[in-house]
Symmetry: C3
Subunit: 200 residues, 3 copies
């Protein structure tokens, strides 16, 4: 239940944000819907393949409907500047929700804590990275966004909280909120990740 709610939040927001980008580049509705699906379910699909679980959307076509619906909505109706600000916050919450759900599922599958954190990061970032790669977009990794770091924070906060004995629901919500706040603050205040030091 908790993972399904977090999953739907992440899938829907990723599909919408992806379609804003696809639309800006003039993509047609079918390709936009395919990219929205890749962005929406890609990270969780990788997580399920790595953990050798059934891929989550195979038995739950609702996820695909959400992707197609979100893509159609944004493609036909559009998203002005005001809606974009909302989408950025939604995107940040999607990243954080996926980071938590990835770590949570990995822990349930008996994976040790540090590996669960990595699984959270992959779940959160791989959908968006894959979409950028497929669309020929400059990968988010080489921008100095607080992106992977927000996923890292959410996953670590959740895993540490659960290890410390906190119940799952508050740990998950807390982890997701922390990562969201970090990313929204970073975008609002223009925080950038540090560049490497000069060679000694």
């Amino acid at each position: 239940m908790l993972t399904a709610v977090l999953d739907y939040v992440g899938v829907a927001t990723f599909a919408m944000v992806s379609t804003v980008g696809a639309r800006d580049r003039g993509l047609d509705p079918v390709s936009s819907a395919l990219l929205a699906t890749v962005a929406g379910v890609g990270g969780g699909t990788l997580r399920d393949l790595l953990l050798d679980r059934p891929v989550f959307w195979l038995a739950a076509p609702g996820y695909l409907y959400v992707c197609a619906g979100a893509a159609a909505l944004v493609w036909f109706v559009g998203a002005g500047p005001r809606r974009r600000a909302t989408l950025l916050v939604l995107d940040a919450s999607g990243i954080s929700a996926f980071a938590v759900v990835g770590a949570l599922i990995a822990r349930e599958e008996g994976v040790v804590a540090p590996v669960a954190v990595v699984m959270g990061i992959l779940t959160a970032t791989c959908g968006g990275i894959l979409r950028d790669v497929l669309a020929g977009e400059r990968a988010v990794l080489v921008r100095k966004d607080v992106y992977v770091t927000a996923a890292l924070l959410s996953a670590v906060a959740f895993v540490v909280a659960v290890e410390a004995g906190l119940p799952r629901v508050p740990a998950a919500v807390g982890g997701a909120v922390l990562g969201t706040v970090l990313r929204v603050l970073a975008i609002t205040l223009g925080w950038r990740m540090p560049a490497p030091p000069r060679w000694g």
Copy 2:
């Protein structure tokens, strides 16, 4: 048997078309053969991983020989303008064959119809997309080709025909022909996918 025939058609044409592109960019024979293999078996591999079936070429090395042979043939012998026209038609039939076989296998694995359509699209398009990405080529998704849409048509036509009670073989052949005709017509007549409407 039906799936094997469709699979070999798709694998061979994708490997040949891929090597035409690799050759144009001056790639060496070994890298060309690797790209031909990725293009040929990539989509079906993703399909098998998602459906948790044994990857189809593991127990059937014939697929790899076809990829290597097709790559060697095109790399050493070449393909003039006339052969390219033939290859474009073959490529269109490969996409459509893969879309049908992806949907067919997904249905056999007990997947619901809409998810089977998505599986058909992924099987048909991911090999080519992956090859473009690995070769640093401009991804087919951002061109306005009737590409994903041809795969969509083939997969939908096949699934609907089978649901309507048609036997598998005519449904498969019909679906594959429909997508092929659409894509060949689109290339011949210069049809482009629609751009998004301006923001309201």
Copy 3:
């Protein structure tokens, strides 16, 4: 034991070489560590997914620590020109080690010899290719490096030696050394892969 040693050699060198590239492009430490992890464990992960084995680093977080540690070391301490020459040799040995270990594991899983060679090539090259793609780097495949060919040589040498009755350890070491020597010679002497012949 043999596969673990070869795996650790490959993972550590790939993570370090990847971070040299990430650092040159100004990436932040967290993204650099993610790319180092993708480069280090990506090829072996694909191999395990294709062979339907448990992904090797899930139960052995040591691989992730090696990736993170290698990334941190190179990112903070750096790598001058002299260290880069060392890294190039290490990289060549990593490619060859991965090619051997991929073929070896595939054979242990009962895969026929030609497919095992392909599995060796994929294990050796996909981590680096994936990293290039994610980082928006020009893919190694379109440079005329002796890269895929070195992996091919190592995998073929190992498989042929084992088929000929040689024990596994000398066959593995011999295969890995052959590929390493080929790639280091190619870089030192400026060997390039052949361009395709002109169209007949």
